[in-house]
């Protein structure tokens, strides 16, 4: 087990290094003039050159690369050309919102996915109808789902808000994590908690549709296979109720592929996050990335990519380790 973790950790570092290299190469080949974007259209050519020198854009490529590696390794991601803050500071501002959204969406996806898979394994017409609805929902472009959801639940029914993380007149707790649900609980603020929850529902649900379907599908298949196993037959012969068998034996032993699926889906979540954060005015990394793209703000784009790529790699690492811990059969992989 330790061996496995060790090997995986080494792999993790190697992958992160590769990611840093690729990100640098990509942003270095893009022709643009960020120095001028910073000093403005009316600045003199000297001012532009001075800014370019200050930002290090006039150095030769190999030197920029080594600078970049050194800086990144020590946690210095330069300053955003647009906000003029350190990129790490910007990331710290925007990451919690995305983390909260991603976690909520993941929880929702798991709940819906597992629920649907169990229903499907138990059989019944309602399960099939539900599956069809889920497939339909997961086949429509995300931005449309989002806008239609706002149209129905906000414009039509007036029960959910159209955007933001909380009602705008509320003061946010100066919390430890930046994730409002948690911070509000810690600060004992039910108003912020309730508002944050209400604001989370639509965006999290929109994000969760596609992963939920993928998880449901994978889990349903593995569940059906597991339920045919000898030991399940034995349990049934012993007189255990079907539901108990399903939950106790079936679910636990089928978790593997679904878990892996969940980890992989986390990566697909990113494209969805950029869209959802835009439509729901969610102040997270997706919004930051969008604004950075519009400004050709390369330090910000680079920093955000590194952060998200790292998060993805780490999540999959944890999934791998968790699977190995749960199922001894795969420890030698």
């Amino acid at each position: 087990m330790i061996d496995l973790i060790g090997k995986r950790l080494v792999a993790l570092v190697a992958v992160l290094f590769g990611l840093a290299v690729i990100v640098f190469v990509l942003q270095a080949v893009i022709p643009s003039d960020p120095a001028r974007a910073m000093v403005g259209a009316s600045a003199s050519p000297e001012a532009v050159a001075a800014k370019a020198h200050e930002l290090g854009y006039d150095k030769p490529l190999p030197e920029r690369f080594t600078d970049y590696l050194g800086r990144t390794a020590s946690g210095d991601l330069q300053s955003s050309l647009r906000t003029r803050n350190a990129v790490t500071e910007d990331l710290r501002t925007f990451a919690p919102a995305t983390l909260e959204l991603a976690l909520s969406a993941s929880v929702l996806a798991v709940m819906i996915g597992v629920g649907l898979a169990l229903l499907l394994a138990a059989g019944g017409r309602s399960a099939r109808v539900l599956r069809l609805v889920l497939v339909a929902g997961a086949s429509v472009p995300g931005f449309l789902v989002a806008l239609l959801a706002i149209l129905v639940f906000y414009s039509g029914l007036h029960i959910l808000p159209a955007g933001g993380r909380v009602t705008d007149t509320l003061v946010l707790p100066d919390g430890p994590t930046g994730m409002l649900l948690f911070d509000a609980l810690v600060a004992g603020d039910p108003g912020v908690f309730g508002s944050a929850l209400a604001h989370l529902i639509l965006p999290a649900f929109t994000l969760a549709l596609v992963p939920a379907l993928a998880i449901a599908r994978t889990l349903a298949t593995t569940l059906q296979q597991t339920m045919r196993e000898d030991y399940v037959r034995t349990a049934r012969a012993k007189g255990l109720r079907e539901r108990v068998i399903l939950l106790r034996h079936g679910l636990r032993n089928s978790a593997g592929p679904a878990l892996t699926m969940g980890g992989l889906q986390f990566g697909l979540l990113l494209a969805g996050i950029v869209v959802v954060e835009q439509i729901f005015s969610w102040p997270g990394l997706g919004l930051y990335l969008n604004q950075s793209i519009a400004f050709s703000d390369f330090p910000a784009i680079t920093g955000t990519t590194l952060l998200l790529g790292t998060a993805y790699v780490v999540v999959n690492f944890c999934v791998d380790v968790a699977q190995a811990a749960a199922d001894p059969r795969i420890r030698t992989v």
């Binding site: 974007a37 414009s155 029960i159 808000p161 159209a162 929850l197 604001h199 835009q278 050709s296």
Partner: protein, 514 residues
Amino acid sequence: MTRWISAVAVAVAVTLAGCGSTEKKSTSATSDVLRIPYLADMSVPDPDVFYDVEGNSVILNQYEGLLKYADNSTKIVGALADSWTVSPDRLTYTFKLHPGVKFHSGAPLTSKSVKAAFERRLDVDNAPAYMLKPVKSMSTPDDLTFVVTLKSPVNPFEAYMASSWGPKIIGPDAIKTHAGKDFGQKWLATHGDGTGPYKLTGFERGRQYTLTRNDDYWGTKANFKTVLIKITPDIGTQRLQLQNGDLDAVVKSFPASELETLPDDVVVQKKDSNLRLLLYVNPNKAPFDDPAVRAGLRATIDVDQYAAEAYAGTATKSVGAYPEALLADQPTLPYKVDDAAAKAAAARASTKKITLAYTADESGVQRRVGELLQAKLKTAGYDVTLREVQLPDTYGYVKHLKTAPDLMLQTNTPDAAHPDTWARIVYYSTGGLNFFGYNDKQVDSKLDAALDAPEAEATKLYQEVGRRVIDSDAFFFLGNVKDVFVLRDDLEGVTSTPEYPWTIWYAPLKRAGT
């Protein structure tokens, strides 16, 4: 299983019903709050650094300069200066300041504060600093008199003072108390100290900015106690929130074709602005390095179609090479749709494959003009590739002219309502918005001469520059874009100025019936 699910569903429904519901905003408490959306964060609320457009309303309602443009006109009137005089040699400007003005921090405004603010702009030396570069010296003979002496006459100097990016008088909280090592830039990135009718009391990037009424304002106090600028990146969401009463006004990028389908409690105002849609032509590479081929483009421009279809009536035909309000007596533009002529000119082109770029914007209007223009060019015989680009990318074209696009659509507004602030940025060989490096020595020398020439002669020089630009066929003027404000019908007192696009004054606003 289903019992569990229904139990959870009930619990969730109860929670929802209890909190976070959104009824229409009709209580008196919320009529005290004005909600305005922005499509993106502004760069920083620091007047000496800020050089975007969306964000002007935060700066202009918080800070004041010595001069400003009067509502709905290009007339320059006093703001913090009650009056001013210009010496006959046009080198010395003497401003008489309004007495009894206090900064948001409480400190009084004196001529020394003005001098400190001007010096800070030069120290920070960022985008808008060029407006003060011609200054030779400044003096403060008494508390309410501020004198500026220029190195040589600069005709647009008053326009600079009135510009939305012109020098704003920033208070001592920024300049002295929190100066730090960077002239207070770090503090001003999230705080403010101005003299205007609103103070910046909150700046949460990505979420919202909070402006609170300045109850000690020297002018007419604002009606709304709080203004919330909400960052709402999607125009569809903005529309829905406006219709539902959760936003009070959408002032930028509302899709023009959707204006007719708004409900009855939302009204539309279309105001003149100095925004202009330009078609830049790259004269440094084939096929448009051939003047005859360039001239053929005149026959492909269908301004009526753009105004009617792409802009759905929110743009008008352009006259001359300058925004109309900046220069009188400009010639009509020689564009006339003529498919045969266009084909003939295109036949001479050394290559038919061209790229037409346009800068991205939320309303999609430049893309639509691009598509319409593409269709016309195709009829003429070109093989056109459309390309959406971001504005910062366009600044790099001047260094890579051979690989830059052949044509580009871009909407510009002058820094101030003076022909120099338009021509210098767009037509001067080193102009910041001269994306394709248009280089005409005569234009450069005329603009330089006009900078300090007497008014009549300067006007003549500007007109000559305009003539040369039109004849060069390196720039085409596709339309004057109106400022379109989409407002809740219970919002009264909406005022704006053409020179400050996408901006309304918050102080005079009030809700009907309050």
